[in-house]
């Protein structure tokens, strides 16, 4: 049964992979979706089994084979189903299935649907490897595999050079992170002599180690570099917005719901290690908070609907890192889950819009789509309310928990809270702006385009995800909030993963403080959302005036802080120049010349020696004579 869970997507990949020439999107999509559905059903089966077990013993392990066996070191191709990987597996296969279903409609007119679905299935397989692996090496295989699939799918329409370049950018940026991840694995192996999660967790010293150069801190920082690449944090976030070149369901599955959360998952998985390295956690929290803020501000000024969602994803990932950085692993996982629902929903919604608009992504050419696409609009509203943290929608619970924890946790700081709240404010603004420019207000749709609601295979996933976006938050109601709500809902998610978490004394925050801070953030969020509504619906001329007033600032944000340009100017172009010099001056002029001259030497020497072989017997006899004379000379001289 477990192997059904793990290998059904691989089987789907193989079937669709072998019939990659097929243009039958319905058939390919059915095979692929069926494979993921099978996986999802097995995951549900195991979920049922885990629930029946006592809380401390919830762990099923499956060993496929012994993978590496060198001296004392051994690594198995082994998998663990514990509460944490169970949650991830359910998200991956569940959301994955919905997105596969959506893809059937979305990729209907594509030329190579079988290939697309093969990649998508392969992605799910690798993602399952990543979350289920019981040691860092299996995780790393999945980690690389999802990177590969991400590259293949971003560049899926590779005949457009820009899209192919976006794929390469993602791949190379991830590669930088992966190098860090590998160094982290090496450091952990050197320190603990093992790469298995349970063994690492049991051999971490109980007392946190201060200082920057302790092996645990270094290992955590290296692992975090890997997470920066995969989960698009400063400074390696630049690939994610470009990754929107891929088909929209890919953006929903890989670049919103699952792959980009791999870094967060990894840190939650290694939580015991990170808790022992407060400095590394501080870096994680700071980077997360800054990313949340910076990406949110960039999102304010984007006009491409998918770009807004992409920066929003970067920003929300920042929140997750903020959460795990202050030790609130449960809150991080909660936000990971709710974000997977509402962001997948919004990406699919934007896919539905783009599909209806005949591949138009510029929000300035949309507007008033509400009356053409009622279902997409309604579900999008659910996602919107969830992400801005409207009370009792899913994002509200998880985001509030993160903000409270960043203030209250012993590893937190009030500055982190301030940054988080400002980012939340900006989030409310740009999401409202997106809603306003796309669905509300006056229509700016060109005459030639007639928007229409999407087919039923595309709207069903939207409805399911919309439902989840609204209600999933009740699985992770923060403790303080739960104590005053009717029925006193528990934080089920936190309890569920609690046995896997290291000890961090949270202390008792005052309830009044918690509600006070929540009130402040809610007021700011509502004010910001209302302002966006005024700007983009009530008086569409206001944005222009506001832009003119803060022109310098607006340009800075609209051009994404010139980060891409900066990378080109200070890293990529010097690197290219250096490589060019190395090629033209060192390689061609030095190394090539050296090897050529050596080969010339041998060629000439051979040519010279060729003369010796004259074929004339008498000359050979002369050589014999010379040889004898010389040997005699030596014998006698001795």
């Amino acid at each position: 049964m477990f192997y059904v869970l793990l290998f059904a997507p691989l089987l789907g990949f193989l079937i669709n992979g072998f019939r990659f020439r097929s243009t039958n999107a319905k058939l390919a999509g059915t095979i692929a979706s069926g494979a993921i559905l099978l996986s999802f059903i097995s995951a549900l089966f195991y979920f049922g089994q885990l629930i029946k077990m006592p809380a401390e013993a919830r762990s099923l392990s499956f060993i496929l084979f012994d993978w590496i066996q060198v001296g004392d070191f051994s690594a198995q191709m082994g998998f663990t189903l514990d509460p944490l990987s169970m949650v991830m597996t359910l998200i991956i296969t569940g959301v994955g299935f919905l997105i596969h279903l959506f893809s059937v409609g979305y990729m209907d007119h594509d030329e190579r649907p079988a290939k697309y679905f093969a990649y998508l299935n392969f992605f799910v397989f690798n993602m399952l490897l990543l979350v289920l692996g019981n040691n860092l090496l299996v995780m790393f295989v999945g980690w690389e595999g999802v990177g590969l699939c991400s590259y293949l799918l971003i560049g899926f329409w590779f005949s457009d050079p820009e899209k192919a370049a976006a794929g390469m950018k993602a791949f190379i940026t991830n590669r930088i992170g992966d190098a860090g991840f590998l160094l982290g694995i090496f450091t952990i192996f050197l320190t603990f002599g093992t790469v298995t999660f349970t063994e690492i967790a049991s051999s971490v010293p109980a007392e946190p180690l201060t200082g920057w150069t302790s092996p645990i801190t270094l290992a955590c920082l290296f692992l975090f570099i890997g997470a920066m690449g995969k989960s698009a944090q400063i400074p390696l976030y630049v690939w994610l917005p470009d990754a929107m070149a891929g088909p929209t369901p890919v953006s929903a599955l890989i670049h919103a719901a699952t792959m980009v959360t791999a870094g967060v998952y990894m840190i939650i998985r290694m939580n015991v290690l990170f808790l022992a390295a407060p400095n590394a956690m501080m870096i994680v929290a700071i980077v997360g908070a800054l990313t949340a803020l910076m990406a949110a501000t960039i999102g304010l000024a984007q006009n491409d609907i998918k770009k807004v969602l992409a920066y929003s994803t970067v920003s929300q990932l920042g929140y997750m890192f903020l959460a795990v950085g202050v030790g609130a692993f449960g809150a991080g996982l909660a936000h990971l889950m709710t974000h997977a629902f509402f962001k997948a929903l919004m990406f699919l919604g934007s896919g539905s819009v783009i599909h209806a608009m005949h591949e138009e992504q510029d929000m300035r050419k949309m507007g008033g789509l509400k009356k053409y696409m009622p279902i997409t609009h309604a579900t999008f509203v659910c996602g919107w309310l969830a992400i801005i943290g409207f009370p009792f929608f899913s994002g509200f619970f998880s985001k509030d928990e993160i903000l409270w924890m960043s203030f209250h946790s012993p590893r937190g700081h009030w500055l982190l809270w301030v940054v988080g709240v400002i980012a939340a404010m900006f989030t409310a603004f740009y999401m409202t702006r997106l809603m306003a420019m796309t669905f509300w207000g006056k229509s700016r749709v060109p005459e030639s385009i007639h928007p229409h609601e999407s087919p039923v295979t595309m709207t069903i996933p939207l409805i399911v995800l919309g439902f989840l976006s609204v209600f999933a938050g009740w699985l992770c109601v923060p403790h303080g909030l739960g104590s005053v709500l009717p029925g006193h809902p528990h934080n089920f998610l936190d309890q569920w993963i609690h046995p896997l978490m290291g000890k961090l004394e949270m202390g008792h925050g005052s309830l009044g403080m918690e509600f006070g801070l929540m009130g402040v953030s809610l007021v700011l969020v509502f004010a910001s959302a209302f302002m966006a509504y005024r700007f983009y619906v009530v008086d569409p001329s206001l944005p222009q005036k506001a832009q003119a007033r803060v022109k310098g600032l607006y340009d800075l944000v609209a051009n994404k802080y010139w980060v891409d340009e900066g990378y080109f100017k200070f890293i990529i172009n010097p690197l290219v120049r250096l490589s060019r010099h190395l090629w033209a001056d060192v390689d061609v002029k030095l190394i090539d010349r050296a090897t050529y001259s050596i080969s010339d030497l041998f060629k000439n020497a051979g040519g010279g020696l060729r003369m010796v072989q004259s074929g004339n017997m008498q000359v050979y006899a002369l050589y014999i004579l010379i040889g004898v004379v010389v040997s005699l000379f030596f014998l006698m001289a001795r």
Binding site: Q613, G615, N616, Q618, L625
Partner: protein, 106 residues
Amino acid sequence: MLSNLFSIGIGHYLFVSGALFVMGMLGVLLRKNILVILMSIELMLNAVNVAFVTFAYYLNDVNGAVIVLFVIAIAATEAAVGLALVVLLYKNFKEVNIRFFEHLKG
């Protein structure tokens, strides 16, 4: 002293042997006719024979003389094989000049 100078001793024998050997060697190295080269080889063999019997006589060791008998026997067989080859070469190529047979040129 004078009688020593004119009496024939080991030095004379060895000189003759050496002179014969060098003549044979020069013949092998310089002459172009295969038949002549073959004859020169015989000359070198005989030069060695002379040296052998000389040493056999002066060292009172009969082994040297015995080896000479072997050498003569083997030289005879060698001459027979060599001549047969030369005859065949001539039959096939109508040529006895060794420069004609330079097919092993590098």
